[in-house]
C-alpha cells in the first residue's frame, strides 16, 4: 500500500507553490512514497506522555529595545528586486478579477 497518492502529491505541489509537470509529479510521488514509508518509523517509538521538543535549547523569546537603528536604505532594499516602481516592489496582479 502506498503512503501517498498521486492526487495528494499534486495537491501538495499546489500548496507548496510549485508548478510541476506530470513527469516531475510522477517521479516525486514514487520518491515521497518511499521517504514517507521510511520516516514513518518514528511511529514505532513508545512516546505516550512524552512532551514534544520543538527546539534544541530551552530559550525564551527576546525583545529588542525600542530604539531607532540604522537600517537598509530604500535603494539597498530594492536593489535586487525583479521589478520596481518608484520606491516600491512591483508585483504581478494579486487579485483574480481583471483590473
Amino acid at each position: 500500500m502506498s503512503a501517498i497518492t498521486r492526487d495528494e502529491v499534486s495537491h501538495l505541489a499546489r500548496l507548496s507553490r510549485l508548478a510541476l509537470g506530470d513527469d516531475e509529479l510522477d517521479h516525486l510521488a514514487a520518491q515521497l512514497d518511499q521517504i514517507i514509508s521510511a520516516v514513518a518509523r518514528v511511529q514505532e517509538v513508545a512516546a505516550e506522555d512524552i512532551p514534544p521538543t520543538s527546539h534544541a535549547l530551552p530559550l525564551t523569546n527576546v525583545y529588542r529595545t525600542d530604539e531607532a537603528r540604522e537600517c537598509l536604505t530604500p535603494e539597498q532594499a530594492l536593489a535586487a528586486a525583479p521589478a520596481t516602481e518608484g520606491q516600491r516592489f512591483r508585483v504581478p496582479r494579486i487579485l483574480d478579477e481583471e483590473a
Binding site: A19, I35, V42, Q43
Partner: protein, 524 residues
Amino acid sequence: MTGTERSGVEGTGQAARAGGSGGSSPQKDTAELVRKTAAELGELLSAGEVSAAEVAEAHLDRIAAVDGQVNAFLHVDRETTLAQARTVDERRAAGERLGPLAGVPVAHKDVFTTTDMPTTAGSKILEGWRPPYDATITARLREAGLVILGKTNMDEFAMGSSTENSAYFTSRNPWDLERIPGGSSGGSSAAVAAYEAPLSTGTDTGGSIRQPASVTGIVGMKPTYGGSSRYGVIAFASSLDTPGPFARTVLDAALLQEAFSGHDRMDSTSVAEAVPPVVEAARHADVDGLRIGVVKEFAGDGYDPGVSARFDEAVELLESLGAKVVEVSCPHFTYALPAYYLIAPSECSSNLARFDAMRYGLRVGDDGTRSAEEVMALTRAEGFGPEVKRRIMLGTYALSSGYYDAYYGKAQQVRTLIKRDFEAAFEQVDVLVSPTTPTTAFPIGERADDPIAMYLADLCTIPANLTGNAAISVPCGLSDGLPVGLQIMAPVLGDDRVYRVGAAVERALEDRWGGPLLAKAPAL
C-alpha cells in the same frame, strides 16, 4: 552568471602565472605558504615576515592552479580579495592591535551573505544575488582581519551530503576526484583539503560540516546550537542550523570558532553565555582521567569495515592516553534519522516560502497576464532543484492537518527522547564518540537519485543537531586510501571538551603517522 565568474577564475589564474614568472615571490614560497596552518600564518603575519597580500596571492594562485579539478569555489574575485588583504596590511602598519588570524584567508560557504560577493546558496533562484548586508559571521571575521578568498560550492540550500544537489556543479574530493567531498558544505571541505584555503566556514544542520570534514580528512566542528550566529545565514531548518569552522588542525578550527563566536543581538536564538574556552582547550590536548563513552548503536550493519576498524583503533588510542572508555547505550539514536527527515523538511518548507519571486531572486513568467501566485509557482518550479522540491513537499505533507500528529508531532517527541538519551549518557561520561559517517567518500553519482541512501550519510551526526550539542569530526586514519573521521560529542556549551579530546587524538595520531593525515593525500 556564476559560470562566467568561474571562467574568470581561470582567466585570473593565467594572468597570475604569467605575472609570477617575473614577480618577486618565487614559486617555492607560494607552495610553502599554502601548506601552513592558520596559526602559523597568523604568527608570520604578526611578525611581519609576510604580508596579508602575499598570503592572499599565494592562495589565489593555488585556487587558479587546482580549482579547475576540485571545483570548490562558486565565486572568486582576485581584486576584491587582494584589496581586503591590503587593507589588513595597512591596519597593521598603522599600529592597530589585530587578532591572531588577521591577514589569514578564509573561504565562506555560499550560504553566508557577503556584500562584496554574490550569495546563491547553491541555487538558481538566487543566481547573481548581491546581499545588501553581511552575515554577522562575515562581519566579525572581516573585523578580525580575515581575508575572504571566495564563496564555496554547496548542495542547494544546504540540502544534501555530496554537493551533487548544487545547481552549478559538483565539487570533487581532493583524495579521489571521482568521489564526493561530502556535503552540504562540500566546497568548503574540498577547498581546505586541497590547500586552496587554510580555513573555511560551513553550516551543519544534520552533519553538513562534520561529514564533509570526515570524508576529506580535515577537522570540522558543529558548535553548540546558538553559539554561532545565524544572522545572514540563508535559513534551511532554523532550529537545527549551526554555522561552524573547517580547518586542517584542531587548533585552527578553535581559532576560527573563537573569532566569530559570541552573543549576537541580531539572532534571537543566540546564547548569552560566554564562549567556551576553545582555543585554550585545543592547546591542552590531554584526556587523562576523562570518561569517554562509545555509542553502542552506531556500529554494525551499514558501517564500512575500514571505518569500524579505524574507529576501534581511535578508541584504543584514547584509552592508552589515559581516558576511561565505556560503552554507552542511546536507544533512541536510531530514530534520529527518521525524526530529522520530518523536522528539517517541515522547517524548510516554511523557511523557503520567502522565495516568492517578489523582492529578490529569480522571477519567471511575469508576462502581464499571469497572477502573482502563478508567477510564484512557475519561478519556484524553475528555480529550485529536485532535492529542494522533495523536501518542501515532504515538509508540507508532514505539517498538513490530518498528518501532523502522526509525523511532525511524533518526530518532536522523538527529539525529547534523544535529548534524554544524551542527558543519561552525560551522567556517566564526559564525551561520546562514534564514527562521523558510516562510509568513506562514495563515488559521484552513486547515490544521486536515491534520496534514502544519501540520507544515511548523516546517520551518526543528526542526534547532536536535534539536541544542540557540540560535536567535532577529526581525522582518524584511512580505509582503502580514503579518510575516516572520528566524531566527538559533548553536552551543550561543552565545545571546549570536544576540542580538548580532538587535539589529543590529533597529536597522538600525528606522532604515529609522522605528520598530518592530509600529507598522505595524492598531489593535485
